[in-house]
Assembly symmetry: D2
Homo-oligomer: 290 residues x 4
Amino acid sequence: MSQQPDNQLSNWGRWGATDQRGALNLLTPAIIKQAAGLVKTGKAYSLSMPLTTEGPQWPQRHKTWRVTTFRNPPDERGGADDVVTMHSHSGTHMDALCHIWYDNQLYNGYNVSEHITSTGATRNAIDNVPWLVGRGLLLDIAGWKGVDHLQLGEAITAADLDACAAAQGVTIQPGDLLLIRTGWIRVFAQDRALFNQGEPGIDESTIPWLRQHDVVAVCADNHAVEVFDAMPPARLPIHTAAIRDLGLYLVEYLNLEELAADKVYESLLVIAPLQLTGAIGSPVNPIALA
Amino acid sequence: MSQQPDNQLSNWGRWGATDQRGALNLLTPAIIKQAAGLVKTGKAYSLSMPLTTEGPQWPQRHKTWRVTTFRNPPDERGGADDVVTMHSHSGTHMDALCHIWYDNQLYNGYNVSEHITSTGATRNAIDNVPWLVGRGLLLDIAGWKGVDHLQLGEAITAADLDACAAAQGVTIQPGDLLLIRTGWIRVFAQDRALFNQGEPGIDESTIPWLRQHDVVAVCADNHAVEVFDAMPPARLPIHTAAIRDLGLYLVEYLNLEELAADKVYESLLVIAPLQLTGAIGSPVNPIALA
Amino acid sequence: MSQQPDNQLSNWGRWGATDQRGALNLLTPAIIKQAAGLVKTGKAYSLSMPLTTEGPQWPQRHKTWRVTTFRNPPDERGGADDVVTMHSHSGTHMDALCHIWYDNQLYNGYNVSEHITSTGATRNAIDNVPWLVGRGLLLDIAGWKGVDHLQLGEAITAADLDACAAAQGVTIQPGDLLLIRTGWIRVFAQDRALFNQGEPGIDESTIPWLRQHDVVAVCADNHAVEVFDAMPPARLPIHTAAIRDLGLYLVEYLNLEELAADKVYESLLVIAPLQLTGAIGSPVNPIALA
Amino acid sequence: MSQQPDNQLSNWGRWGATDQRGALNLLTPAIIKQAAGLVKTGKAYSLSMPLTTEGPQWPQRHKTWRVTTFRNPPDERGGADDVVTMHSHSGTHMDALCHIWYDNQLYNGYNVSEHITSTGATRNAIDNVPWLVGRGLLLDIAGWKGVDHLQLGEAITAADLDACAAAQGVTIQPGDLLLIRTGWIRVFAQDRALFNQGEPGIDESTIPWLRQHDVVAVCADNHAVEVFDAMPPARLPIHTAAIRDLGLYLVEYLNLEELAADKVYESLLVIAPLQLTGAIGSPVNPIALA
């Protein structure tokens, strides 16, 4: 593993040489039990956007197809089913740890040429993640800044994360599932062309911060969690550092509007990827319980 | 709504003439809060089967496709994505309330000819269900009977459900999400031909029982929750009664093995269907927290 | 067959009560042999547009997906394949006789409710058409009018067809496969928004003309052969008359540019639909030999 | 192009350094005009198998999906369309010159790593082939041997091809589109398990023969033109030599039964691949005119 990144910014080997779960290892029963204790009112929130032909999704991707098959005989039982064709990274979705890489190596040093083919991934695929369950910590950056939404290309720094947390009266804990609200998902409905040019999001200053706080997942209401202002972006430094170096999970295109409106900064968050064998990601419907 | 079924066995109109959510209406914050209190150890269980080309699924259905796209340039960031083509009712999945009907009427009296087309359902579609969250009550029928799995065509009656609950020391409560373990999912791996002939499951005696107990969902480790011994089955009386008359949710092809091994009879259960607009169902990965 | 249309404008029953081939019956060996005699120079023309994600296709339809799977091991044989998801009516394509109807009856009186389901057509499906082979008669309307292309909503009448044929020095014969050039396909590349608003094409005056001349197929370089100026069109009178009443074949989105440039008014035309069992149509690559 | 094969068994560079059409270059207008002269009776033959869920196709491939969408309003025009998901190499189909390779080089020396990606081929893709039109020369090996079909693993040698041609009274000419009948397609219906174990077909002795006779395409009624007796086959020497070294076209899963029954040894053959941009192959419906 000589090509692994700076030890300070890597989790390679931390959970063993054969680990494929990355930061999921941090989600211990103790963490989950503690998070369950956050359920006070019993209100449940779906953090998924509607999953339609239009996405939300990267403009370069093929769009989701859904057609319905049915049979409605006059005097018998009738029934219907659907046919869905989609990218696993369309709509609200979760990236597997094999989604992004560099230098021909996946998280924990697996060789890409060997493990990524047209038939799927034989390391770090989404079916290594039965669930992400823990404390969902909402950092409502747009709310903290008092804006409808952050602007295209507007960076959220580590200092912003700290300041927002302080303003909200919350403290980051190891094992947190971060929910970062930029408000950008509102632009999806308001101005599709602008939405597809890029996004506000966290910048590179947050990489050591994510490692230091032992965050498990970063979920955001935009295309790709991180800031960029041209589509496609020239670089995706958070993706490469978080997924490939740190083994963190990125979850994208969330709808955090209702959670923010209710100021639910802490919740029990359940993210349950489809157990697609060998897949690079999965559409999800994250559920927050408050 | 003159053609609606016997009042005793119907929930039409119970939650209003325009209701599309059915028994989901029973899942109040109080129920969810109470269920969250069941999390004692913090152990999490995925109740999904692996989602592969082979299903599990009805043998008549087209099989799931998944191919992976990727790009691995020598000196740049590389990345991968998937293309998935599948029936929404393949693998572990949840039926929407528009999945099954008779007499050209859906749950709550909606006209099928008007509301079910090749482009989807305009009533009772899966995106009316942001989540099912509540108490997961496992009735381990195979365990109670002391068998590896029930036999093809072996019926589970209302009396069996009561006897099993009593043996397990649990009581059915309004709003429960029932998890019925027949052991039949083991046959999927052991004998595919037998698995595809039918299944053990609940029989018609359970319909008034489900209504009386105000069960919200019945989840099982087989094709279709209910008993039948020929594929395709001539009748699906639980489907028509539960989905169309009572507005209950059926969830199928669950893996309840680990939950049963740990004797987790009560858990906080979270089922989060993909928010496919207008769809007839969704693959799911149900998560039980104990 | 009491609901069949006016005898003058119908071919129902003409080739027997169980016929599913319609005007294909006119393509006798004698016609084919005669058409083969038109091959003078041996030049071959593909009349297909490139089949891309962008179509050409109706704007309401899902777009064609094509992804490639491959394996390139260092010291072994490598290979590739494609995954294609598409509507059978995308790109240059041919309509089966079950594509369009009214009054719940298909061509030759078949009951739609009985024969068209989500699993396909059990009457008049595309696999009743092993080939269309005969004389391709190009009527270059744009060339005859001396325009780059006809305008949105510009009608081509029966009188126009006659006048163009006369100007070109050709005579319509029974069994002809008509190739009507409007030039509209140029607009696909030039102005997609205009292209998708409708098209120039033949109008209702041509229906008796098509019947009288025993034309077998009408192929055109636009969406739908016939004139309309709003998308979706309120009416498609040529579709209903040609396909459902007359049993004619419509073939759409052809590229007739090179054929027209070479003034190849007569050719041996071969159209070979994929033999998709029970399908409503097929993408095709029509070949003209001159 | 230093790694190119033996000059005697290669066509690299023959049609220029940038050629992507291979043996298609041999199909001159003179060849086509001559072939058109073979149309004597005007009888047309579709050489396609029905294109169904079951293929025919390699057993490792995903199976073709086709579902139908429709709308049948009581008092209006109704209509239907299909959704098709398939491999381009399913059913009767044609291989593009980028389908098979070795040593990281495609036909004419193109670099595979550069030109084959998940989004398709940028060299030698199927849309370089607008048509194959020429003399279809049927070599009915099963008929010549007097058998129902050749056996699994039974090799057809160059000497066999010569002897069969002599027995049929035909001579191979440059530019021929060879139709080789093994009878193996009968096994598809009779014994699927046997069909999927391999096939009879031409062996390596035919490679110099194909080059020497300047054959343009080899079409056969089996999986892969060439002999093998284990699935998947360890080697595919005809594929690598014909496609990658010689730039020949292979067309597979043809139905040659009727052509052979009529002893149509010579015909005008038209093969028209769908113009899928960047694709690795295409389903086809080859048409022979006699």
